[in-house]
């Protein structure tokens, strides 16, 4: 049989018309015997035929099977069995067997061999498996979790390897996914914060807060959120999209009416700053610069794997703005990842990103509510919230304000101080007014009011107060009265002066008092102290008595009495002279009651003369004295006892003050 005939038979097997039916039947029976032995046995048992020799038949069939289907094994057997045979290739059995094989299994056999080949060739096997792998995985996943469990270790290992090789690949792949996930987590954390803020705010009420509450209900936001929103004020003025590696500006949008710098330069500079910060502070690779402050401008930076979004903000932007930035940079990476990756300096394709940047130009204005009639009412919830933030500062502010009020009150209560103006500018206090030089020192009052002198700038003009207390003090300052004088000024501005003072002081004061401001009238009731002294000196001298033994002979003890008398007289004479007065002393001689009165007069005259001569010998001027003898006409009360008699033999003195020197000189 040739190949072509085989193919004929092959063809014939699929087409019954070209084959005799008888042959076909035989082949079919043989096929059944060879391939489905079980089935046949069963059917035979059912029919009850040929039951006696199944084993023998089976052996034959088995041998035939081996010969036909395992040609290699069979050949080996053949070689062993027929070792004498030299040419196996020419074995006619083989040809016959091959023919039988073809007849029995036809193309099925070829298919089987091909299948075997495929299984043995790893390349072909892999190619085959790849056709069904995806479907197989899906099918298995639907059945159970085994596949996932089996894959876990490999996938974990794969991720590790990938990260070790280049972590950026994984990071870049995860970036669009992780952003929202992280934000969700943060949002829920923020939510908790808002909630607690809400609770504190819930306790405060004001018309404003009701309005905000209404807004919260309408917008579905929390009340705290609305409060924060309403009190914030900001504006995103510019947004830059910057290529991360080169620092080149990809796109730049600017809010209306904002003056800008050269975007290219700002963009590069921002990148340089970012690099600088990153290098200088040895931060972790994943930590990046997020915020920059320039005066009242803030720059927020949102970083993606290839590009950076930087927003220039004036004022206080809430965190939601950052979320908008974040969304923008994420979307740009998602949609423009191709042009970002292949960027070679051509910025034109990034025009497409403009809408995202423009979406970041957010503005928030402060609400200006009309002032309600009762202002105190609105100091409710808002103040409560603000108080937490500015509490310490506010405390100091209020404290200083109170101290200032306190200081002003003190000044106003003070006599001789008139506050003309007082106000507060830029945290400093300014005060001006009039002050009597005698009034309390306003600067001393500053520190006693617990204010720092540095906080207060004061200007004081001098003036004279007419308050009785000040007039009195002023009078005292001008007149400088001795301690023996007391001065009083009453509410009608009348000055009362009482006590003792020198004539000189009195005369001077009479003139000066006219010039003291604030004194309307003067009542002077002051005794001239000089005269008073003269009076007492005079009395002292008049108390002296010089005693005699007999005749004009003095008692032995009287010499020293004369000495001190002389001194007193000299003193009196001097002080009298100093106040333009003169003195005249009458020396009077006395006798006891014994003897004739004529003789007594003479004796008494002689005794007076005797004392005068003693005075003159001591240096006193005779002109100041007159002598007189009165005999016994002016006796002392006891003139009868022996002792009394002795006391009556005496000389006494009478002192006269004369008014002027002129008169004195007249007397001379």
């Amino acid at each position: 049989m040739t190949d072509s005939s085989t193919s004929d038979i092959f063809n014939g097997a699929s087409n019954n018309n070209h084959l005799p039916t008888q042959e076909e039947d035989v082949l079919a029976a043989l096929r059944t015997l060879l391939f489905n032995p079980e089935q046949i046995e069963t059917s035979e048992q059912q029919t009850g035929e040929k039951n006696t020799s199944p084993n023998l038949e089976e052996d034959v069939l088995e041998q035939l099977r081996t010969l036909i289907f395992s040609p290699d094994d069979a050949q080996v057997d053949n070689v062993q069995q027929q070792s004498s045979q030299k040419n196996p290739a020419a074995n006619p059995d083989e040809d016959v067997l091959g023919e039988l094989r073809s007849l029995l299994v036809g193309d099925d056999y070829q298919k089987l061999t091909k299948l075997q080949e495929r299984l043995d060739d790893p390349k072909l096997y892999a190619a085959d498996l790849s056709q069904v792998l995806a479907e197989a995985i899906i099918l298995r996943s639907l059945q159970d979790q085994q596949l996932a469990k089996a894959l876990v270790p490999s996938i974990e290992e794969a991720i590790k390897v990938s990260v070790r090789k280049d972590f950026k690949i994984l990071a870049n792949a995860l970036f669009p996914v992780m952003g929202p996930a992280i934000r969700k987590a943060i949002a829920s954390a923020l939510n908790v914060m808002m909630q607690s803020l809400n609770q504190t705010l819930n306790h405060s009420f004001s018309p404003q807060s009701f309005k905000w509450r209404l807004e919260a209900r309408q917008t579905g936001k929390s009340f705290a959120e609305v409060v924060l929103l309403r009190t914030l004020l900001y504006r995103v003025e510019q947004v830059f999209l910057i290529h991360k590696e080169t620092g080149l500006l990809l796109q730049h949008v600017v809010a209306k009416a904002v003056t800008t710098q050269d975007g290219d330069l700002v963009s590069a500079m921002l990148t340089a700053i970012k690099d600088f910060v990153h290098d200088s502070f040895h931060v972790h690779q994943s930590d990046t610069l997020e915020t920059l402050h320039f005066g009242e401008l803030t720059i927020w930076i949102e970083e993606g794997p290839q590009a950076i979004l930087a927003g220039v903000i004036r004022g206080n932007a809430p965190q939601e703005v950052r979320a908008v930035f974040h969304d923008a940079i994420e979307s740009i990476h998602l949609e423009q990842s191709n042009i970002l990756h292949s960027f070679d300096g051509n910025t034109t394709p990034f025009e497409a990103c403009r809408p995202y940047l423009e979406g970041c130009l957010l503005v928030q204005f402060e609400v200006k509510e009309p002032k309600p009639k009762n202002q105190k009412l609105i100091i409710g919830s808002v103040l409560g919230a603000i108080l937490i933030a500015v509490g310490p500062w506010l405390f100091l502010y209020i404290r200083d304000q109170q101290r200032w009020a306190n200081y002003l009150e003190k000044l106003n209560a003070e006599r001789g101080i008139v506050v003309v103006s007082a106000d507060k500018r830029h945290g400093k206090f300014f005060i001006s007014g009039l002050r009597d030089p005698l009034a309390a020192d306003p600067l001393m009052l500053i520190s006693s009011a617990n204010l720092s002198p540095a906080q207060v700038t004061s200007r004081w003009e001098n003036y004279l107060s007419e308050a009785p207390k000040f007039v009195e003090t002023r009078t005292k300052q001008v007149l400088q009265p001795p301690q023996s004088v007391s001065l009083k000024v009453d509410n009608n501005a009348i000055l009362y002066a009482t006590g003792y003072a020198s004539a000189e002081w009195i005369a001077e004061s009479k003139k000066l008092v006219q010039l003291i401001p604030g004194v309307n009238k003067v009542y002077l009731n002051i005794v001239d102290t000089d005269l008073r002294e003269l009076e007492s000196a005079k009395k002292k001298i008049e108390n002296y008595e010089v005693h005699f033994l007999n005749g004009t002979q003095l008692l032995p003890s009287q010499d020293s009495k004369i000495q001190s008398l002389v001194k007193e007289i000299q003193k009196l004479s001097n002080s009298a002279q100093s106040i333009n007065k003169g003195i005249r002393i009458q020396i009077v001689g006395h006798t006891d009651a014994g003897g004739s009165e004529n003789a007594n007069i003479t004796l008494s005259q002689a005794r007076a003369q005797k004392v005068l001569s003693m005075f003159v010998s001591q240096g006193l001027k005779a002109t100041n004295f007159t002598t007189q003898g009165v005999g016994s006409r002016e006796p002392l009360p006891d003139n009868l006892s022996k002792q009394g008699k002795i006391f009556n033999r005496r000389v006494s003195f009478k002192v006269f003050l004369t008014d002027t020197l002129n008169r004195k000189s007249d007397q001379r």
């Binding site: 991360k244 590696e245 080169t246 290219d264 590069a268 340089a272 690099d275 290098d279 070679d344």
Partner: protein
């Protein structure tokens, strides 16, 4: 619009800032203000129809206290190595800087400028130095920020190289 980042690197006081000033603003000053960190300028150059916006990063000079930060070089499409012709050692600095830059950002076009060419009498670039340079097969341009010599040429050449790269 095509934009390219260019860096100026070199030892301190070699004239990096002066070259940029000359190129961008056509001005020159004898006064030396050392650069701290980095200063950025830009200039638009045209090649026929093609417009190229050069973003110039003038980086602080290298001295013994301060090494140039390689992070500033990142993303550069080209760079200048600036040498002060009157100070031989600035050439050595340029050699070592070139090595570090290449390690950091890879091979990108660059040009070595032998600046201060107007100071002919003080030149310290001798034949040996020239030989060493020519061995390296680099593009070397003699220039002077003071007179303007070679400045346009240097920037133009680098720009072309970058567009071709």
């Amino acid at each position: 619009m095509i934009q390219k980042k260019i860096c100026m690197v070199g030892a301190f006081a070699t004239g990096k800032t002066s070259l940029v000033e000359r190129f961008v603003k056509s001005i020159y000053s004898n006064i030396y203000h050392t650069t701290v960190g980095v200063k950025i300028d830009k200039k638009l150059v045209k090649f026929g129809e093609q417009e190229l916006n050069l973003i110039l990063w003038d980086i602080h000079g290298e001295d013994e206290f301060q090494k140039v930060r390689m992070s500033y070089l990142r993303g550069s499409s080209g760079y200048f190595l600036v040498v002060d012709g009157s100070r031989r050692y600035t050439l050595e600095t340029a050699f070592s800087l070139q090595q570090r830059v290449e390690d950091a950002i890879g091979e990108v076009p660059f040009i070595l400028i032998l600046n201060k060419a107007d100071l002919i009498d003080e030149s310290e670039i001798d034949d040996a130095a020239m030989a060493e340079l020519s061995q390296k097969n680099w593009t070397v341009i003699k220039g002077s920020a003071k007179t303007g010599l070679g400045v346009e040429e240097a920037f133009g050449t680098l720009a072309k190289k970058m567009l071709e790269a």
